[in-house]
Symmetry: C2
Subunit: 321 residues, 2 copies
């Protein structure tokens, strides 16, 4: 299991390696919600998402022998770069299994941190099998993206820093994908503020956690086509256990609500946030009537958005003049 | 004239009304430049740009009689909203003259702060004449966007806050349009660090300040078609005087260099910056070989970008799924 003390220890263990990201506020947002909203901006974290917190907390606790053998993970997203960064910072051999259809920019970024990238077929079974086989063959330790108490405790340090900085919160909103960030946020928040209301937010199109909690069974999340690509994964035994134990409330938001929240963050708050990272704000805006006069926290999980299509508009504009 | 003491007084005068904006850094940027680069992020300022600093410093110093009569300005850009905000905060009747072709979103935002918007023809003479006539008729005080020592001193408070926070700088980079931000930055920086190198950056396509300084005459800047729409204005007597007096170095950057710098800020630093605001970073990247091991400051002037075209890409994407 994992407790508040684990989050606190994770904070001290990783703090020299990660960014202490800013908490941002907006007068306009506070006027809309009629509350004080504090957004912990992990889009400003190294590699552009909260993921290095968990990866570093995990890898720093390996034995010297495990470190000398190396680590392996499978991911097509932010976790891949986080593990690669951690491996580089700690001087550990790192192998990342990525599907053939992973965007080249993510493959390049992962290699840029010095990791070895091994390609696999475009399905979860192939990813898992390839990583496990490499682990068995070479003695690499598998670093899972979320089904690991050390990853969860590390992820919880974002909420820990938020509450340390702003004090008592009445509510905290966070995205739910595989449940790693959710579980860590729950443990940190409840450890610091026992009566805080914890609200996980999930895309309606990938509402497996909502249904899992309702029916008390882990549902798979087979390729849901939500724009919030970081939230397409299903819960694990460990994350589901924590989410259940603390009576988490889960709400869902539509694709339009996600993009509207994202646009607010870019346009009014001037920060680049990825769709998954905007999901908690979509939840805050959805529940705004319940939040009047409250202290409300939100975890903005990341800001990695492919901007080439966007910037084509600018490059086209200057080529015409 | 305007001195460092005026900037210091402006800082204390306006600080309760403006945001103390963050100074942001980037490991990647520091590695590219091989220097420590500190960006003062006025895109996080109220109304999304540095402009309220000058407007508030000006308007707070009006006599009670002047305040009771009201203020007028002409602008199609960030200055319009800044004056409207200042008028609202201080309870002063505010009239903003905007050309017929001003974007509706800017007209609406200005009205949203409670200002009266008067439309005029799409040329500078019409703007100036309309504002002056309204001033004469109603006794409104004209709040110029930059040709005013109180506006200049207010604009200088951004650099003042930057240097207060990070200490000794070897260089400071800033954009040059009408020269208000440039002049204020120069006075603040030289007042705090006499041997600092001050470098104004201008689009090659609107290089009137560069040529003005070279030839010692103020050149007009008739509708240059740079993407940096905040920098299309020409210097005034007051701003030209300050820029000359302190031996400012002016460098120019291409349209491509501006968009590349902007893309870096969005993609790597996760902040939304408008083209004019990215111009100083384009200058830093252009001179990087001269900046090795130095302490380098930059003023990111604003972040107001029309995002509807961008977000159409996202809204289209979710409507397909």
């Amino acid at each position: 299991m994992v407790n508040f003390e684990d989050v606190e220890q994770a904070y001290h263990r990783i703090k020299q390696y990660v960014n202490h990201t800013p908490v941002m506020t907006s007068r306009t947002l506070n006027e809309i919600v009629e509350a004080n909203v504090y957004l912990k901006c992990e889009n400003f974290q190294r590699v552009g998402a909260f993921k290095p917190r968990g990866a570093l907390n995990k890898i720093l606790q390996l034995s010297n022998e495990e470190k000398s053998r190396g680590i392996v993970t499978h991911s097509s997203g932010n976790h891949a770069q986080a593990v690669a960064l951690a491996g580089k910072l700690l001087g550990i051999k790192t192998v990342v299994v990525m599907p053939e259809n992973a965007p080249q920019v993510k493959v390049d970024a992962t290699k840029g941190y010095g990791a070895e990238v091994v390609r696999c077929d475009n399905n979860t079974e192939s990813r898992v099998r390839t990583a496990e086989q490499l682990g068995e063959k070479h003695g690499y330790t598998l670093v899972h993206a979320y089904d690991d108490y050390n990853i969860i405790a590390g992820a919880g340090t974002a909420a820990y820093e938020l509450i340390k900085e702003v004090g008592k919160l009445d509510y905290i909103f966070f995205p739910i994908g595989g449940g790693g960030l959710a579980s860590g946020t729950i443990i940190a928040s409840k450890g610091m503020i026992p009566d805080i209301e914890i609200i996980g937010v999930e895309p309606e199109k990938a509402d497996d956690a909502f249904r899992s909690l309702r029916d008390n069974v882990i549902y798979p999340s087979p390729y849901p086509n939500t724009i919030a690509d970081g939230l397409r994964t299903q819960l694990s035994e460990k994350t589901f256990g924590i989410i259940k134990k603390y009576n988490t409330k889960i709400i869902t938001v539509t694709e339009n609500e996600i993009v509207d929240a994202m646009k607010f963050l870019w346009e009014r708050m001037k920060i680049v946030v990825e769709p998954s990272g905007a999901v908690p704000l979509a939840g805050i805006l959805k529940l705004e009537e319940n939040l009047r006069k409250k202290q409300v926290g939100g975890i903005i999980s990341g800001g990695n958005v492919e901007l080439n299509d966007f910037f084509k508009i600018f490059y086209d504009k200057i080529s015409l003049t």
